[in-house]
Structure formats: C-alpha cells, structure tokens
C-alpha cells in the first residue's frame, strides 16, 4: 500500500495522532513514520492541533518515586549513600557506563593503590577503611574522576579515569555540594590526567559529613575559600561514606 498518497496520508496521520488508529495498522504506520519525513510532518501538524486539547487536563504531581526511578534506571542509584558498603559497591558496579567486571577491577585497583593500608597495614580486616568516596562522571555518564579520602584524613586522592580537557590558562576546580542545597565550596584543583593528592583544608569528616555530591568546573584560577563556581559543572557525581 502506498501510504504517501496525500489523501490516505492525511487520513492515517490524523487517526494516528488522535489515537484511533489501532493494532497492527498503528504499528505499520509507525514504521512508515520513521522513514518518511512527509508522514512525520503530517502527523506533527495534527499533533499540534490536538495538543491544544490537552491544555484543560488538570495537572497531577507525580510521586517522588517516578524521578528517583528514572535516576536509578538512567544514572545509577541516588540512594546508594544510604546503603551499606557492599550494596554501595554493587550499586556502583551496576552503573552501565562502568561496564561490569572491568569496572569492578578498576575500582578495586584504584582503592587498593591509593589506600595501601588495606593490604599492608590492616591485614586482619577484609573491609575497606572508613572513607569518603566520589565517582564523578562526565555529561555522557562516563566515569572520569575517582576521589577518595580517609574519614579522618586531610588528603584527598584523585585519580583521572579518562583525561579531562582543560583549556590553557584554566584549572579544573573540584567542588563539594552540601546535601542541604547550600552553596558549593572549593576542595582543590584536579589534574587533567593521571592522579594527584589534594591537601584538604580540614579533615574529611568535617568537610564532607554533609556533602552529597562532588563536581568539577573549569575556572580561570584555583577558587579561594568562599568562592563560587563561575560556570556549569563539567563533571559531577555522588559523594558517599564508605562505612
């Protein structure tokens, strides 16, 4: 059947837009729509006309679970911070972008490398030391910065999982975002690749106890205490307590 004869197309487009086109005829027309701009245009015109009818529909505020579910399905769990350590790790590993076992290995290697006490000084314990850990992803959701510091330590170890482009004369500034929504405060400057140790202004416990997220913005110079991010964050992620 030639769907693109003007009269037939008009009939199918308006029935599709209204919803009265049903069953296999609807599915067939959807396939046509994907490949025929003229059909998409005809449907779009009818959808525009009909969308005015939606104006009087009383709004209904969805429950929080709808957005939380979206975040979980698309960006991993925002509730990870409230779970135990093992569930937290499994939550991290379920991030699609991390890619399964490889990512698990990467995370373990990173943690062991920067927390040598795990295998050297604390041989009796199978658990990771109490730490704050952040995994920052870029706009595409690719894990980019792994940041960790011991709960009562004053140094944060930062590892770049992929390089970050930092324009000449600028720095990548790491910020901490308190969970109560108050202003972000600067933590330190991170390199564009490799790894670094960032000296903290206080112990992790004092700085990060109420922090739910970490983020990185590109700044002209390292931010001073009390400074604010000048632009959008290029990386961000949850900051969680590992205990």
């Amino acid at each position: 059947m030639n769907y693109l004869l003007p009269e037939r197309l008009e009939r199918l487009a308006r029935e599709y837009a209204l919803g009265t086109l049903a069953g296999s005829a609807r599915r067939r027309f959807e396939r046509v729509l994907r490949n025929a701009p003229a059909a998409a245009k005809a449907v779009g015109a009818w959808q525009e006309r009909l969308s005015g009818l939606a104006g009087a529909v009383p709004p209904m505020q969805p429950g929080d679970s709808v957005w939380r579910g979206l975040e979980e399905r698309l960006f991993a769990s925002p509730r990870a911070a409230r779970r135990g350590p093992l569930q937290w790790l499994s939550g991290v590993l379920s991030v699609r972008a991390l890619g399964g076992a490889l990512a698990g290995a990467l995370l373990c290697v990173a943690l062991l490398r920067f927390q040598p006490g795990l295998i050297g000084l604390e041989p009796q314990s199978d658990t990771l030391p109490q730490s704050y850990v952040g995994l920052l992803v870029d706009a595409a959701g690719v894990p980019t910065v792994l940041a960790s510091s011991k709960r009562h330590g004053t140094v944060m170890t930062v590892k770049l999982l992929q390089p970050v482009a930092i324009p000449a004369g600028s720095v990548a500034q790491l910020w901490a975002l308190p969970k109560d929504g108050s202003a972000a405060f600067p933590v330190g400057v991170v390199p564009g690749a490799g790894s670094a140790s960032v000296a903290l202004a206080d112990t992790s416990e004092k700085l990060f106890f109420n922090v739910s997220r970490l983020a990185v913005s590109i700044e002209a110079a390292p931010a001073k205490a009390g400074g604010k991010p000048s632009g959008d964050f290029v990386l961000s992620g949850h900051c969680v307590k590992l205990w």
């Binding site: 998409a40 009087a56 209904m60 709808v66």
Partner: protein, 194 residues
C-alpha cells in the same frame, strides 16, 4: 506550564546527555504529562509507570525531537500519549484474556461520557474556538473527546455512545475536520496554548 522556548532550549541539551537539562524538562512538565496519562489510564500507578517509561524515551530519544515538525510540548505530550495508549491497549488485551473482574474499567465506564466532554469544552474555550465548533453536534464532540482524552478506538466509542460504528467514524472525522478549520480560522498554533 513551561514556555515552549524554554523547552526548545533544553531538549537539544538533553540529547547531548545534559542531566540538569533533563531534570529541568521533567520538573517543568511532569505534572501536566501525568494528568494526560491519568485521563487515559484512570490509574495513578499505571500513569506514573507510563510517565517514567516516557521519560526514559525522552532521555534516549531527545535527538529525534525536530522543532520543524512539532513544538516541544506537543512532542512531549505525544511521547506520553502514545505510551499511555499502548499501555491501555495491552492492558485491555490482558484483561480480555484473563477475563478478570475489573473495578477500574467499571469506574472508567461510569465516568466515560461526562469528564472528557467537560475537558473538551474547557479546551475549546481556552483556544477561543468554542463558538466556531458550536455547530458541531453533541455526539460529534463526545466522540472526539472520548478518542482524545480516553484513548478510545472507534469500536469502543460506538459501544459507549450506543451508535453504529460507521456513524462514529463519520463523527470523529467531522469533528477533526471542524477542529482543523476552526484553528486555521483563529490563526492559532494550538501548541502555543497547550
């Protein structure tokens, strides 16, 4: 209701994976879109499921939004409506096969004729085309309202209104023709008021 300009700026950013833009689109439109899904499904739980599925599509499919085909709010409404219509019809098929007693379906039936018509009248008044559509008979308006707000197909409308199938098809077609003529006469892009 968010402005189409705001949404038109946000959707291309969503296509690039901007999560803040995605949340902006969600927060600005979720209440209106849940209302649309709820009218069709008559169940908050199912409507919320559909809303979530629709926004999964928005995240993955925002690159398919083409402002030259339809406005952003129109695009979002139709992502949700199509999901709701699919859910409604697959749910009906399941119910038919299990022939379970369904209080929800009865509730929809009881309310089927009144509410959609009231919504249609209010929308037409907002669009300032109520008078223009005034010469359209009550059955034509009812048929149009049941199809749009309830996601009913011709056979269901015929059953609800107790009219022959062929007659209902004509009513719906005339309703749409008249709507188009009135919108054209009013010089409105319906989307601008959605």
């Amino acid at each position: 209701m968010p402005s189409n300009e705001d949404l038109a700026a946000l959707l291309p950013r969503v296509a690039l994976g901007d999560r803040a833009a995605f949340e902006g689109v969600y927060r600005a439109t979720c209440a209106h879109l849940l209302g649309v899904a709820f009218r069709i499904l008559n169940s908050r739980e199912r409507a919320e499921e559909v809303l979530q599925e629709a926004f999964m599509n928005v995240w993955h499919g925002a690159g398919g939004f083409d402002a030259s085909v339809a406005g952003p709010m129109t695009w979002l409404i139709n992502v949700v409506r199509n999901k709701a219509i699919d859910a409604l019809r697959s749910g009906r098929a399941e119910r038919a096969s299990t022939s379970a007693f369904d209080e929800e379906a009865l509730a929809v039936a009881a309310d089927a004729m009144q509410q959609p018509q009231a919504l249609l009248e209010r929308s037409l008044a907002t669009l300032r085309i109520r008078d223009c559509l005034g010469d359209l008979g009550a059955p034509q308006r009812q048929a149009l309202a049941l199809a749009y707000y309830r996601g009913m197909v011709h056979t269901e409308i015929a059953e609800t209104l107790g009219a022959p199938l062929g007659t209902v098809k004509t009513w719906v077609r005339r309703g749409l023709d008249r709507l188009k003529a009135c919108l054209d006469a009013a010089g409105l892009r319906a989307d601008s008021l959605a």
